[in-house]
């Protein structure tokens, strides 16, 4: 290579886009829709594999079984006061189906794009729907904020992609981060282990692919609650993508089973 060719090569290299690998942590692409920018594909039907905490997730454990959840004394007292008949009478059979409890449940969930900036997560367990809003959705809706909306079992969820790579010599990777607030008071566990309406539910959604092509979704999540927890409740929950969607079985909320 002569000097002129070398100079051209340097000029070309200097004009190439900076690798996204050099982006700061949490960097988010700033152009295009959330759907177009998605670094991972979350859509499809996912089934929870209950290979952990089977006795606390597949069935309703007895009252007072609060093992592994860092409850405050107040939280422990609330768990001891659990009364499913009272919840039924109050029309609150879905208290264990709010987002922090729902995701740990024995669920199938269907994730789809509601529009270019909104992911919809539907579950057959409790027939619940979560809406994950990327920033532009809120703006299009006229600036509706979490604080102004009514509290609900699924609360208000803001979403953002965390993108890695995608530049020169670098494959595009990433994950989804969501933060849910504005929740109604609910249960982390079916037997009345509580979270308060001040709870903040943060989730990181990763998709992992095996050489066989099987896809797993891992949801790393943290529940912070100044009322009923004395430390953040941190877990990772895994799901598998189903190609056969025939086992989808919508069942209403049940306060007892």
């Amino acid at each position: 290579m002569d000097c002129r060719s070398l100079a051209i090569a340097i000029a070309v290299i200097s004009l190439l886009p900076v690798s996204a690998g050099a982006q700061p942590r949490g960097a988010r692409a700033s152009t295009g829709s959330a759907r177009a920018e998605a670094p991972i594909d979350l859509t499809g039907q996912w089934v929870a594999i209950i290979s952990e905490d089977w006795r606390w997730r597949m069935i309703t454990p007895p009252k007072g079984d609060i093992v592994s959840i860092p409850l405050s004394l107040r939280g422990q007292q609330a768990a001891e006061a659990w009364d499913p008949a009272k919840d039924e009478a109050a029309g609150e059979q879905c208290k264990a189906y709010g987002a922090p409890g729902l995701m740990r449940g024995p669920i199938r969930m269907r994730i789809s794009w509601q529009d270019d900036a909104t992911l919809k997560v539907e579950t057959d367990y409790g027939i619940q729907t979560r809406i994950l809003r990327f920033p532009s959705t809120a703006l299009r809706a006229g600036g509706t904020t979490a604080a102004s909306a009514a509290r609900s079992w699924q609360g208000h969820t803001s979403a953002e992609w965390v993108v890695r790579g995608g530049g020169r010599d670098s494959q595009r990777h990433g994950s989804l981060k969501t933060v849910t607030t504005n929740l109604r008071q609910g249960y982390l566990r079916k037997n009345g282990v509580p979270y308060s309406e001040r709870a903040v539910f943060t989730e990181h959604w990763d998709v992992h692919v095996l050489p066989s092509g099987d896809k797993y979704l891992v949801n790393t999540n943290v529940v912070e609650d100044p009322v009923y927890l004395q430390a953040p409740f941190q877990t990772a929950i895994h799901y598998k993508l189903e190609r056969d969607t025939s086992k989808w079985d919508p069942t209403p909320c049940d306060a007892r089973f």
Partner: protein
């Protein structure tokens, strides 16, 4: 001369282009036993195979297990499955090893007295021949996919893969592992495939929290062996249960009213549709009888507060004191 300078500049630019993302994994991570507390803390109940996709052979072998079996010298290191740390109650220490140029050659996960140190080779070396030595750490290679270190472990020994209950993993097991660090949280997901003792991949996902003041304790990556039950020494006796004679096989049925097939780790019991069967058969126990408030006990905080029924499982006084001591 100008051309030489250009050559150097070009080389530097090409070298500086990041090949792939890497995240600093080094440090100590505190355990957060918010999942599978009983398996990771006091140890599984005998006869509790819930959440496992066991084959008939795996189930039969697990039922043969007696809690005296690990006391035999030949079997004291069978708990050394490379990723059994996901079922252990200890912190995690990770560090990197570098070559002369500073490139990471391997990420290393420190072992403890029942788990060998696992070295994840990042330098592209191939896995050895299937007939090569199987160390208790297995052989692991890794690469980065974005912020996730993807590792693959082969060449493991036959081992127990869940604490204290005899669930076996064969030496044909392979593990695909995903390690993602986000700020202070480290998520490790393992997917174990075993053509002998599992009917489908066994998935476990856990969270640790970075703790700059943490200590994993003594680093002992060699399993110590010694005679624990003197009467067994030199007798040639292997503690076991004959088929159909394990007295704990029905423990979960008796204690928690769950169907035997769920306790015995049939794969179909891991999926939501199994609740249709449970709905017609399951009746919750009247109260929680054992290990009901474990997290609180371990933090040295009030367990059974006045007027509450939180049951600590009748821990021996000495163990309770050890678990709740300020030094812990």
């Amino acid at each position: 001369m100008r051309c030489q300078v250009l050559t150097v500049v070009t080389s530097v630019l090409l070298y500086a282009a990041p090949a792939s993302a890497q995240v600093e994994l080094g440090g100590t991570y505190a355990i957060r036993m918010h999942e599978d507390y009983i398996e990771r803390g006091p140890g599984s109940f005998l006869g509790d195979f819930t959440g496992m996709p066991l084959s008939d052979e795996g189930r039969a072998k697990a039922l043969r297990y007696s809690s005296s079996l690990p006391s035999t010298i030949e079997r004291q290191c069978l708990a050394q499955s490379p990723w059994v740390g996901l079922y252990r109650p200890l912190a995690l220490r990770i560090w990197s090893e570098h070559d002369e140029s500073g490139r990471v050659v391997a990420w290393v996960m420190g072992g403890d007295y029942l788990r060998d140190t696992v070295r994840i080779w990042m330098d592209g070396r191939p896995h050895p021949s299937p007939n090569a030595w199987h160390p208790s750490s297995g052989f692991t290679t890794g690469h980065w996919e974005g912020d996730t270190l993807v590792a693959r472990t082969t060449h493991v020994k036959t081992a127990w893969i869940r604490r204290g209950v005899g669930i076996p993993g064969s030496d044909q097991s392979t593990f695909t592992v995903f390690m993602t660090r986000r700020e202070n949280l480290l998520t490790i997901t393992t997917i174990q495939e075993d053509p002998v003792y599992l009917t489908e991949p066994h998935v476990v996902s856990r969270v640790w929290e970075f703790d700059p003041r943490g200590s994993q304790g003594p680093m002992r990556d060699t399993c110590n062996v010694g005679v624990e039950i003197p009467p067994l020494e030199d007798t040639g006796e292997v503690p076991h249960h004959l088929p159909g004679q394990n007295p704990e096989a029905d423990y979960m049925v008796r204690t928690y009213n769950i169907p035997r097939e769920a306790a015995m780790g049939f794969a179909h019991t891991l999926y939501p549709e199994y609740r249709k069967t449970l709905r017609s058969t399951y009746k919750p126990p009247a109260s929680c009888g054992r290990y009901c408030c474990g997290w609180i006990e371990r933090q040295g905080l009030p367990g059974a507060a006045p007027g509450l029924t939180c049951n600590d499982g009748n821990l021996p006084a000495a163990l309770r004191k050890a678990l709740t001591s300020p030094e812990r």
